[in-house]
């Protein structure tokens, strides 16, 4: 990513490396991911008796019921800020259609069949928009579940529907989360370093995000 942070010598980007995420992006991502992990684990504890032991590990059942909504607000705030930073990069480009069509080749590591991608590939964009829209559903239903005592009794019949939607939406995000963590930690070595330290090798950038690489370096291969 060009511009933004001026690197001091000590934090200079090493040779053959390009900056992928600036500090703000990394900070929002990790606050968001810690918040999400807490929400997922505490949510699962309240979702099924099989996971209720997590409630004790994470501070006690009444404690997680207190914190889950507050951490939910942190999660929402960081999703909102990430959206401000990334919404342009998350827009569809013409190559995305071809990418989605060839997703099987991508999954089978036949990357030569994949069209060049921008800063985020079509799969990352799909992940982002799933999380983005699910967050809004979780926020609205979550606020109702936070303070049902403020709700008029005549409206109590919607509570089961609200809780059902909250649970089902959370399960969708968990499916997306499993794929996201798997892809970044195991399938594409270098991704975790990119999100922690901020930079990737030029080879990594050229292979996974060629259009982005060409844009930031002005180079054509």
């Amino acid at each position: 990513m060009s511009g933004g942070i001026v690197a001091r010598p000590a934090t200079a980007i090493p040779e053959d490396q390009v900056q992928r995420y600036n500090f703000a992006e990394r900070a929002y991502h990790w606050i968001n991911s810690f918040a999400y992990t807490y929400l997922m684990l505490t949510g699962l504890a309240l979702f099924t008796p099989l996971a209720y032991w997590l409630a004790y590990v994470l501070g006690g059942p009444a404690t997680i019921r207190y914190w889950h909504p507050w951490i939910g607000l942190v999660y929402f705030a960081t999703i909102f800020w990430m959206h401000r930073l990334w919404k342009r990069d998350m827009q569809k480009i013409p190559q995305d259609e071809q990418w989605s069509k060839n997703i099987r080749a991508y999954a089978e590591n036949r990357d030569e069949a994949m069209p060049p991608q921008g800063r985020f590939n079509a799969g990352q964009k799909q992940f982002w928009w799933v999380m983005f829209y699910c967050t809004f559903i979780l926020l609205i239903t979550g606020i109702v579940m936070w303070i049902p005592e403020k709700m008029p009794r005549e409206l109590h019949w919607v509570l089961p529907i609200i809780i059902f939607i909250h649970s089902a939406t959370a399960l969708i995000t968990i499916a997306a989360f499993i794929i996201h963590v798997y892809m970044s930690v195991w399938v594409t070595p270098g991704s975790v370093k990119a999100m922690v330290e901020g930079h990737v090798s030029t080879t990594w950038a050229r292979t996974h995000h060629r259009l982005w690489y060409e844009k930031i370096t002005g180079r054509r291969n």
Partner: protein, 302 residues
């Protein structure tokens, strides 16, 4: 009353069977396993002989150690709009116009102790709601986390949240008294004998007997309220007009809400299986296809 012990039948948010696995203590200290010695208990409320004196309300707050709440005036005999976290038992007063004139309907409102309790089904907290084999559904505030899922599961709008303690409360059917072989406090206080307590079988018999009497006296619509949508309740009513329970602010066909059943049924199982399958799936993908080793691949091409 031989309910000298309370054997647990169902526990909220709990994995597996109830502790004890069918064994339970007898009053002499020995254990017994097999069929339960407990019988279903039941409270019978004959609304046709209730005079709305509210003695049961006083007995309830007294036994449970709460103060009487401030009353409000709304131009009827209704003393307060609804039950509260520390006021579990309230006479609901209704004026209903019929062809024959005006009816004053009084109904003792409290937890119905459903055979299929929506509160317990919805509750995520292990041991916060317990159903005993005698039919009593009891809240255990020590385990309550204040999420109020029970409110979403109850078709009778009974659980009440205390904003100070962040716990939910309701009528216990005096499980502490019944467990000690006594009848509930409200039963003891009723001056007209409209409240009865005993086995479900006996109370159904008493209720039907009273209904026959009412039919003979010209109340053709009289009947028993023991809704089958929640597999019956352990508090049953004799109503003057059983065809219109709404007149008494009772739901005509109460059931555990559909979305509670979907959420605690298929969604829970599909979600759990889905998550395990997802983690297993990505693991299998990894050992089949492995990582995208870009740097090495690029070096070879170069």
């Amino acid at each position: 009353m031989s309910n000298g012990n309370l054997e647990i039948k169902a526990i909220s948010g709990h994995v597996g069977n109830s502790p004890g696995g069918g064994d339970y203590r007898q009053s002499d200290g020995s254990t017994h396993s097999g069929a339960s010695l407990d019988y279903d208990v039941c409270k019978l409320i004959d609304t046709t002989t209730c005079i709305g004196c509210k003695a049961c309300e006083v007995a309830c707050v007294e036994w449970n150690g709460y103060e009487f709440r401030e009353t409000t005036f709304d131009n009827t005999y209704q003393t307060m709009p609804e039950t509260a976290w520390n006021f579990w038992n309230l006479i609901k007063f209704k004026e209903v116009e019929t062809d024959g004139g005006l009816q004053w309907l009084m109904r003792k409102d409290q937890c119905m102790h459903c055979e299929e309790p929506g509160c317990l089904i919805a509750c995520p907290a292990d041991g916060a709601i317990v159903q005993y084999t005698n039919g009593i559904v009891d809240f255990n505030q020590a385990n309550c986390i204040g999420c109020q899922y029970c409110v979403s599961g109850c078709p009778f709008n009974i659980p009440r949240f205390n904003e100070a303690t962040k716990k939910v409360y309701k009528c216990t059917l005096c499980s502490d008294r019944v467990g000690a072989g006594l009848e509930p406090a409200c039963i003891k206080s009723c001056p007209t004998g409209c409240l009865h307590f005993g086995s479900k079988e006996d109370m159904k018999f008493e209720a039907e007997k009273r209904v026959q009497q009412l039919h003979a006296n010209g109340h053709a619509d009289a009947g028993v309220y023991d809704p089958s949508g929640v597999k019956g309740t352990h508090v049953i009513y004799v109503l003057n007009d059983a065809k219109h329970p709404e007149n008494y602010e009772l739901p005509a066909d109460p059931t555990v809400p559909l979305f509670v059943k979907l959420w605690k049924g298929p969604l829970k199982w599909l979600g759990g299986i889905g998550m395990i399958a997802g983690v297993f799936g990505v693991f299998m993908h990894y050992i089949r296809f492995g990582p995208k080793e870009v740097d090495k691949a690029e070096e070879v091409k170069r």
